[in-house]
């Protein structure tokens, strides 16, 4: 933390009134986050013990290191990142949403520990944590983000935070999706999918608040922040590529992971209101990985590109609402 910084407490306390919303998105996202709440104890990761022992030594090493890296990022986001956004909040409801996000990031960090303690020996865990402290790219990633969290520009903090939520986790998230696509560690993948779902709401919300703040600035200021965002993305991307090689190189998966990185980098930009940067042929994620992420993300829903002779009618879905009454 800044050595000269004194803690600024608020001068006056205003009680939060959820019946007087300044931004309806706050309540919508709060409800969504609360509705999505979960704890790692609900996922039977211990059912993966047998599967874990079918992995080769290299595969186990990669997976353990991936989870250590994810633990580090979620620790940052839970204890520094989301918390650093609170003083910038424009409404008390926005503050409340950030406290929820911060807490869930701590739940995520704890989830990795529950995976570790279930699958991995204490010695392996210690080795992986030692590796994460010495991996230059992982440390660099943490440094870049922390630098912006400590900076004095609220909008740059939101950019860094959205990058973390929507881009920087994905070099790690690839691994459990890869295993799930091979019917391995499927319970672990279920747990990671819950984290992935949360990160989507976090990235969407923080990106949305960035855009609201951006809209109040002059064109010149907006241009500067856009340039800053793309510079940061490139800096992080170059680092991610090296980090990816250090994790997946031994298994020959680096190129496949990089597609997943670029696909998610585009989504991070979109959460910030910008168009994706990487073209289609550089973001064509391995269909098996995409299917592990979302079984619904196939090509079935492109009636327009087909011959037009057949189309899909959605299957009846159990999640119906009472007031949806025809």
């Amino acid at each position: 933390m800044a050595p000269t910084g004194t803690l600024k407490l608020i001068d006056r306390v205003t009680a939060i009134n959820w019946n007087r919303l300044e931004d309806e998105k706050d309540l919508e996202v709060w409800d969504r986050l609360v509705g999505n709440f979960w704890l790692p104890e609900k996922v039977p990761v211990s059912n993966d013990i047998q599967s874990w022992h079918t992995l080769s030594e290299d595969e186990r090493l990669m997976t353990t290191r991936v989870f250590t890296g994810l633990t580090l990022l979620d620790t940052i986001q839970g204890t520094v990142g989301a918390v650093s956004l609170i003083p910038d909040a424009l409404t008390p409801h926005e503050e409340a949403v950030y406290t929820n996000i911060a807490f869930m990031e701590s739940v995520h960090a704890k989830s990795y520990s529950s995976i570790f303690s279930t699958l991995i020996s204490t010695k392996e865990i210690d080795d992986a944590f030692a590796w994460s402290e010495q991996n230059a790219n992982l440390q660099r990633k943490a440094e870049i983000v922390l630098e912006y969290y400590r900076g004095d520009d609220p909008l740059k903090r939101k950019v860094a935070s959205t990058m973390l939520e929507s881009f920087l986790f994905y070099s790690g998230f690839y691994a459990p999706m890869y295993w799930a696509s091979r019917a391995k560690l499927t319970n672990t993948a279920d747990l990671i999918r819950l984290i992935i779902r949360d990160e989507a709401v976090h990235g969407y919300y923080i990106g949305y608040k960035y855009q609201k703040g951006l809209a109040k600035l002059t064109q010149a200021e907006q241009d500067e922040l856009k340039a800053y965002t793309f510079d940061l993305l490139f800096e992080l991307y170059e680092n991610e590529v090296e980090y990816t090689e250090s994790l997946y190189g031994a298994l020959g998966l680096t190129e496949d992971v990089k597609k997943f990185l670029r696909y998610n980098a585009n989504k991070a930009l979109m959460n910030l209101g910008y168009e994706g940067l990487f073209p289609k042929d550089e973001t064509d994620v391995n269909p098996a990985i995409l299917a592990a992420l979302s079984p619904n993300a196939d090509e079935n829903h492109d009636f327009f590109s087909g011959s037009g002779s057949s189309y899909v009618i959605g299957k009846a879905v159990a999640t119906e609402d009472d007031d949806w009454d025809f």
Binding site: E28, R197, G273, G276, H301, V312, D321
Partner: protein
């Protein structure tokens, strides 16, 4: 020729996608479902394709935005829907773009297209061209 009816929250994601389509040039009018009840109620007068974002989550209801449900609960509005396009995020797993599945099943209309977040340039091109052909074909069928 039919129209495009869409919903977009204050995030404006879907609105921006619609703007990129340039449907005016194809003679396809666009109508936005009002964000708030106080902004009035949209009643359509011609066949339309509905475009909606999926509200993320998947473990509960509410994937179809409330204003869209109200819009479709009107029998006249519902009688004119001809297809659905949904936006979403693959992070929501099996619930990705599920608003399209729900509306397609309930209204028995084709699920035409799904795209992520703001959509890519490729998505915009496909939807623009697709909607042009879709309404041409519809007008031939009904002629």
């Amino acid at each position: 020729m039919g129209s495009l009816v869409y919903f977009s929250s204050v995030s404006e994601n879907t609105h921006r996608f619609v703007q990129r389509l340039g449907l005016d040039e194809l003679g396809i009018p666009t109508h936005r479902i009002p964000l708030r009840k106080s902004d009035g109620f949209l009643t359509v007068t011609e066949p339309y394709v509905l475009m909606v974002p999926t509200y993320g989550g998947g473990n509960e209801g509410g994937a179809v935005p409330r204003r869209v449900r109200e819009f479709l609960n009107d029998p006249h509005n519902r009688s004119l829907v001809r297809g659905v396009i949904a936006a979403g995020n693959t992070n929501f797993g099996a619930a990705y773009c599920i608003a399209g599945d729900i509306i397609s099943a309930k209204c028995q209309v084709p699920y035409l297209y799904a795209f992520e977040l703001l959509g890519t340039a490729e998505d915009a091109r496909r939807v623009r061209d697709g909607l042009g052909r879709f309404w041409q074909r519809q007008s031939l069928i009904s002629a």
